[in-house]
Symmetry: none
Subunit: 210 residues, 4 copies
DNA sequence: TATGAATGAGAGTTCATTCAT
DNA sequence: AATGAATGAACTCTCATTCAT
């Protein structure tokens, strides 16, 4: 799956509902990625998608909230399919240490693969309260992931693989550290993410070690 | 020094330049704290400060950017004086482990003492590119702090107090984890910050240990 | 073609894009004509065009600059078509003396026919630097005309029809004299333009004579 | 007399009423000269004169109109003294042809000597109706001069020195041509004014010749 | 499936001026 | 001779949305 799945249809042709929506969503992602959420207006999206008027956006989506909601799910879906594709079958779910490392490294890898989407998620989380009417259901997915990580950690402690620490605090720290890489990457796009991911995993492996 | 130093003078009275500015800055902080940066307009600030018109804000500050700049320094100053007051003389600078713990715990303590200010700093960092023309000098101060932490860690490694890890990655993780607490606190204001701070320090102490 | 091509549609009716634009442009011309450029605000235009709000102006034109640009071309077009209509075929282009006279008299005639438009051109030239972003392409058209006149004069000199003088200085003087008539007319609307034009042509004919 | 008679007193020192007024008037002239009348606000004048607040301008002048009035007389006085100084005793008032040439050449010379002042006069004439309440008494002076020229021309015709033409039309043309040089000079500051003035005088001399 | 036309609300900013002292 | 503080009015422009067809 590629982010470029959201893109311009042949110009002038009438397009199916679905394609138009995808096109607009794609343009919105690109716009947020470049200018940030706050400067992402219908007008700007219109330009990026080469639409004749903003009216067509209002037509396909009930609301700005509605559009954003869909943008969020698109990005979230992309991420979760990326992660399952990358993790599934690779690591033994019973291997707690391996799961921790896999969590960190795959998150960092996603960052490298779709920095634009990461920016979008961060921006949307930061502006969650902008318009009333769009729940952060997508963001919640993230929190679920953090919750899962916490549970894995707790389990690992019971099994004696991990030492003593507050599992939820550790999970939060891991999650935050990963988010921090995004900022780092934005500042320096040439950052070596593989190394960075490994070093991050090293750190938290030692922190969690028995 | 308290955040409440910024407050309403008697209504209708003419007030000194400095007092007015402080009042407006205080109202701005409160407004950002409650509604977020994006919804912080002159109109809203006016209401909170019980001013007769927004015009008076434009009178005392060259710009919206100018106002925000000053808000940022106010908050930054408050934080740095809080931290020095709390850390100075308490910990031996040569005690690397102690410094790491002190860093984390004092940051978390600040969070508990001035949650509003933390919100402001986060919001402003997120909207740094909103209006061109206001440098994020204040935010840079933060980055300086992270840099100092990284140097402390490196030094500790040379002295054999700390183990092997990438100091800058560790420093970033610590900083991010601390920021994460802010979100945590916003979600659950009854969060026991002292415990949380200790647990966080524990985690990173183990991660850094020789 | 008449300036009154720009005018009010029935009130309250929805109108085509083109008609609205023409209406707004017309109202703008009238407003500049009456109050001058500096006092021509969207609000005043709105009133003259009987619009419900100034918002509709921003809707149809990207900018104030954009509107003014279009006003300028409207007026310029009007003038150039007036002039060609009046000069074309009437004077033999090889008759240099006749061309000089035709230039002066037709310019003065335009002044009489569309004093409002002349005011607009003068005002806009005077405020060319008001808002950055609108090139004075229309004004340049004027300069082109002066350039053409200069060339005609030079040619006439070569042919021995005209005497010795600096052609560009002469052309500038002619052009300026014509502009001066506008002010004269504004001060005394009953001024006999035909006579005035003839006298002006007489003067420059003698000045240019061999 | 120099335009720089209007200028900054020693900073910080209390200054006499007259000096302050001159300083402000000088700053206003400079500001109009550089930015044009429309962009000449109290704020801009304040900056150029290095005043602490615009309030001081309101203090020394009843009005914006009042200030402009005085600016106008300052400039007008400067010009008329320049002209008398240059013309007086040089040309025999009975020498009509000489007077015509002197008129043109001295006006052009003034232009070269004080381009800033010329800009001011042109700008002010163009915005004569900006603020109600300031008569263009100064501009009228100009018109008086044109009137005098017209009378000289008429007299010259009676004496047989000049040919047949409408004296007021000729006078207006001369006056306008001279103003045109200002624009020319603004476009190309290296323009050779002496030559230009002579050529202009040549043209009108021929136009007026018997 | 898509448009054309319009809209109300609100934004920040600049302006010359005035009431005090 | 000068200031500090404040002000009301007007400005252009952007926003997401809606009524028609």
């Amino acid at each position: 799956m590629h982010v470029n799945d959201f893109h311009q249809p042949e110009l002038g042709l009438s397009v199916t509902e679905a394609a138009r929506r995808a096109q607009i969503i794609g343009a919105t992602i690109a716009t947020i990625g470049e200018h940030g959420y706050a400067k992402t207006s219908f007008a700007r999206i219109k330009e990026r998608a080469s639409l004749s008027s903003t009216r067509i956006i209002s037509y396909h989506f009930t609301n700005k909230a509605g559009l954003m909601q869909q943008v969020l799910s698109a990005v979230t879906d992309l991420k979760s399919s990326f992660l399952t594709e990358r993790t599934e079958g690779v690591v033994d779910p019973a291997d707690r240490r391996g799961m921790l490392r896999a969590y960190i490294e795959s998150e960092v890898a996603f960052l490298g693969a779709y920095p634009e989407c990461v920016r979008v998620m961060l921006e949307m989380a930061a502006h969650a309260d902008d318009t009333e009417g769009w729940s952060m259901a997508g963001i919640v997915v993230q929190q679920v992931r953090v919750g899962q990580l916490a549970r894995q950690l707790t389990q690992g402690q019971r099994e004696g693989v991990f030492g003593e620490f507050a599992p939820d605090v550790m999970a939060m720290s891991v999650s935050q550290a990963v988010d921090g890489v995004a900022a780092q990457l934005a500042a320096d796009p040439k950052l070596d993410l593989e190394t960075y991911g490994r070093q991050l995993a090293d750190i938290f492996e030692r922190a969690a070690a028995a």
